[in-house]
Symmetry: D5
Subunit: 146 residues, 10 copies
């Protein structure tokens, strides 16, 4: 079973059972953000968690196997079009050099890893309009000198 | 004075005076992330803060005027090349659909604003290697129905 | 039911019943511009309106469900090719900097929202040739300083 | 004098004299939107108006001559980057097919001209946040059959 | 019936009946160039002509309906590859600025319409090799000042 | 002297002497379209004509030499932006396949040359609005079989 | 029968009968290079040769008809990826200006035709490693002055 | 001295002395095609030949040094625009797969080298129009199996 | 059988039999890296090895035939997206000029062949985190002077 | 002093003193590959090594300071053009998926770091033609599950 078919099956089960990603994540024993990314085919899930997820959604073993596979991460558009994702792209373009300056100032020459990385999304109530709080946490990797 | 010349002047003063962005930001009375982005020409600074910054760095009034101008935000590469910034781009591409799903689940149809937006970078000490914590905070904007 | 299938079903029903977008919009209780964009898969319609629309067109519940889904807005061409749409693209390219100058002059640093946004198209009779009047109305969003 | 040099001279005079585009336009006897676009080099101004504008700003005859020249309209980025202009681009991409449908329904097969065209920007006060109202007005051009 | 299916049906009938575009155009009562472009899906044909064409080719009413639909003009390659079409592209690139200069000299600031437009192709016998004569005829549209 | 400098010199002399391309072409003894393209650096002019042109405009010998050089034809944008030239590009994209069909029907497999080629632009007065008539004339080149 | 289906049928017959392009070309009475290009859909073959080819490969008349059709030459990648073809692309990029200089020196202003063109590939034995000899032969086309 | 400055100096000396590439090549003791490519900065010339060339053109030692430097081969346009070079690009695109098939048939799996490579251009007189004969000669490189 | 179908069949057999590429390579009598690339359709395998591989995996003769075919090497993305492959792309971009300088210093003007080439991947245990050692070995090809 | 000026100064000193990268690296106390990349502006050099390098080449302190700066890694071409670097790009495209498969097989889901990374180039004498051996060594980074 390919990752794309796996995603379709999971989304259908999610809709049929009226479940939220948070509930599915709880079943899997992982964070909602990681669980969602694995279900969308962008991460591989450990066997134990994949089995739990499939048990909770009553999905067959081949879905669990597909969740465990190592994905080929792929996207089609250099510039994303959906407004939710474009705004993040715009933030990276507008603030990228700022982030680089501040990381270099705090840590030295190196980068924030996108591999040893986690992410968390929260809703912050605000009378002037609720706010999205998106926290990224990545290991600092210093450049090697040799 | 154009924004690019302004940036050169500020970076030179910063190097000559051996100042960190955090110190410059404190002089300006703004967050280091906002201060850096304004000095790099990607945001406009209120007059009061721009004047304080220029006073602290002993820069002339035309630098303050340039800091106050509304920028034309511009970038040359659809895909950033510097590894610090590319990793952020990769995160947006890999996790963009995940973020979209979770924002929609928590808030409904709409986006996280990149305009009513702030950002904060922290160093999180970790024995296995220090970590970069990057927090984005943007107002949720629901789509209008008419 | 995917949005693309939904659009095909609605367009067929519209042709069979010889309805105009204005009439469909009246059934749905929304503006023709919003109704059209939702039927083309570029906006999500509230349940009440989607149900009314489907009732009027004698379409099944799954069409209503598809109309309510939050879309992933997507397009394939960075530069549109159809002359109707290209002319709008050309207007944005030719007058974009003008619009930016005038918005900044009237409002300060910020943007016109494309999310808290509505649009209206009118036919203005004119003896020298009728004219299209296209009105866009978006909330001004000021940049946040922090 | 090239159009780019002309724009620099006008912007400097505008800043020195603390004038708004609306005031400059009044001197020129044209709409602010047209005046701004001509000063930015994207339209040619009739001699009478160009001379009035230069008289009001105390600019030499070669600026008037440059304002009268027929421009080569040119842009560098297929996708605009500045958020003000990108949002307009996004609107064209998201609503382009909707606009096409409605123009065809109201007028038949043809386009809204970007040449026989005018544009108007207003500030609409609103307690929930002021709004930008952007009105475009273009002649409908029917396709010729032969 | 979609335009692409319509084109396939017409091309098959044309091949089966061994007809030339000129003959089909005569049946339709339109110029061969317009008729061909409508059959290829790039123009909409008036009902009367579409019905005549279908009668002559013994095609069903749905083909006539498809011919009457307003097309979404679309192409996939920014630079055409087939040598016949590339040479035309090259001519536009090499002579575009020349054409612009001469139109401006003869007419003032404005463009040749691609909408109120017709085109004619002739074979000019020549002992040194026959020649293609391609005549384009478009309405001059002056820029509006406002 | 490079072609770009040559063009600047010729355009300045043309403006100073208030000459039209037609008049310059008459001096050179060539068609206005060819003369303009050579002055813009897109064609090489025979010595005799280049010398006559320079004599008429009182330009030095190095301008004549530059006019005679064989150009490297070059353009920067795959899709032209100026509306005059874009409309021609759109015509090629919309009608390219039509032109190909009709050339093949009239001549067989082959192309219209863009090298053994000439072009002529006329103003056709019309009470409903003057029209641009653009005639292209290129040798038919049949594909070789071997 | 479309050209792509035609190619599949010919390649299968070629494999089943264990024929080389040289042998197929001999049957068709044409050069191997032309025969191959026509079988791959990039040239049209005269009826006589197409019929002979189909007789030799025991292919039906519709394959012959497809071979005779005038192709729309098309490719998907601006830069070819297969190493055999990329090296040719690299040669054009590295030596293109050299070839232009030498053609202009030997012939004057003009081009080598890609239409009135033939090509021949030979294997040249060499003790240090056999060599590919690729000969292109195209008519010189001088630019027309008018 | 950079390669670009070197090319300018050589082209000026070539024009002043009214020399053809063939004559310069004879002085250098190399083929005209190689000599031209080295003078245009796309190949490095052995010291002995570079010195002879500079002696013949009365150019200083730094030109010889620049000729000997190993170039960084670079080009700006993925698709060449000048018609001489575009036609070669078109030939590669149209006949690339044909060349691949025939090389594989004659040699097995591998490529024609663009490094161990030479090229020769001849003028072939022909009463119907002279022809360009372009011969490429590259070592066959078989893929390694390991 | 096309290469893509061949890859699917091999990957399924590999998964069913729980084999590693190293084991499959041992059966084929080739290196794991070469074996993998041939199974993924990017190299052609000698008959003897292809037959052994198919015998070991119990695959039919048509799979062996497909493995022996000479591939058309093709990829869709100019910039790879999967992080494993992007990092290699980044290394080429960051260190490409360095590699060029050092190859030229050690060997003279020429390149490392990608055809007469082999590659080897090892796991190097390291207490601070295991390391990937990737060794490329290509023949040096000197540029030919002629 | 900007990195680009720094590179020019170092290359000139290297040429004047007739030094090889290996010798410069020995002076700096670092590997030749790292030293070269830092001198080309693609890595930052520790102060101690930068000072030693500048002492050996008799370069001023500002060169050492520039060597120590953290670079913004940048490149202009998505596909490199110089044959040395293109061949590496081709290897990544052809063998990228193979490398991914084998890394995943040996290590699990994760990547080879391009940051905690070193590289070594050797000349391997071979009677059939010397070979380039390029060794890359990067830390394996496993994806984090959270």
């Amino acid at each position: 079973m390919k990752k794309t078919a796996m995603t379709d099956v999971i989304l259908k089960a999610k809709a049929d059972k009226q479940l939220r990603w948070e509930q599915i994540a709880e079943h899997a024993g992982l964070a909602p953000e990681f669980t969602t990314s694995a279900c969308l085919g962008m991460n591989s899930m450990p066997k134990e968690n994949a089995d739990k997820l499939c048990a909770a959604l009553a999905l067959p073993a081949e879905v669990s196997a597909a969740l465990q596979e190592f994905p080929h991460k792929s996207w089609d558009k250099w510039v994303p079009t959906d407004p939710v994702i474009y705004r993040l792209y715009e933030i990276v373009a507008v603030y990228g050099e700022t982030i680089k300056q501040i990381i270099h100032e705090k840590f030295g020459d190196g980068i924030m890893s996108a591999i040893d990385f986690s992410m968390h999304i929260e809703k912050v109530p605000d009378p002037k309009g609720d706010r999205v709080k998106l926290t990224m946490n990545g290991k600092f990797l210093p450049y090697k000198t040799w």
